[in-house]
Symmetry: C2
Amino acid sequence: MIKAIVLLSGGMDSLLTAAIAAKECDELLFLHFAYGQRTQDKEQDCFRAIAAHYQAKEASIVDYRWLADIGGSALTDSKIEIDQHPDGIPNTYVPFRNASMLSAAVAWAEVKTATRIYIGAVEEDSSGYPDCRQSFFEAMQSVIRLGTKAANIRIHTPVLHMSKKDIVLKGMELNVPFELSWSCYKDSDAACGVCPSCVLRLKAFAQAGLRDPIPYREQS
Amino acid sequence: MIKAIVLLSGGMDSLLTAAIAAKECDELLFLHFAYGQRTQDKEQDCFRAIAAHYQAKEASIVDYRWLADIGGSALTDSKIEIDQHPDGIPNTYVPFRNASMLSAAVAWAEVKTATRIYIGAVEEDSSGYPDCRQSFFEAMQSVIRLGTKAANIRIHTPVLHMSKKDIVLKGMELNVPFELSWSCYKDSDAACGVCPSCVLRLKAFAQAGLRDPIPYREQS
């Protein structure tokens, strides 16, 4: 009986990760973080819909508003304008976010005796965040081995080395409900189509030769 | 100008750690966590008093109640009785607590451009928690190096290899205000004197040949 925690933002990378976890595991516990991100409400709707789709045994939302309170990121502070063409690490970088989220996931895994944690980080075809690199996850794995009572919890990053195009193609193969996901930095009924996150997503669907099922405002 | 985050629980280990940080650094930012621990209110009083004593530039309390919500620890769940004579890791172990706290401290350090994080973990003369070992902190240091934008933040554990007796003696040498600290697992005006944490503390003062300045209920 393989029991897994799945970190799910509501975006398409973590959605595909959830689909892979559903194939590989017997019981899924979904985890989401409310950290004052711009699209917090929208993401929670996606999270609940996706957790229901994959018949998660539990779906828990962690109150992480401290991440917004400390500031320093355009993703959690609407006074900081999102850099459209970043040079280096984008200002949507949220300080040490993946380590903070993984820490809570590990704590929950210990209590629930889950042995796997799935996270949908993407290294290559992504934003250049330092906490999306393979080396970061390997180091985090050492911390888990040394710092827990259970010591048998493994991080799984099945989409880490996939291109965005491959994520779309693999998602189609696994019948993932892309219509339930959200990538846009704006919280509205239709995605803006122009923010860096929409641009990445639309490019991925275009390269895959497929049409993104979610509604867009600024394109046909 | 050395700027440091100091994790402060309100116990005597983190109190001495704060005193050492005050000697070594120019600016201190104190950080405390409210995670539903049994003595949460008492600890916050101690935290504020100690932060004022050391003239912290900021003193921030992070809402970490998710740690209590997930359960699994006698420290955060009053329905679980604290094991007085634990065999192995005590049931006061809070899953992955130090990693979770350090993650938030690192995030805050990035925003504040602090380059040091002080934490008062004790390895040898302590409770056997896996996340109080040198190897754990070394692994966490790798995670910080790889997973942050700043990449220049160092964990400092000045009391890690000190005995509890040495912590008392060093504290006296540095004139730390032990009367502002709290170690007891009970939230009351006087410490109980009999819980595992009081026993460790009283033994330390006895070995140092000194009298603990806080009031005790069940001893003279």
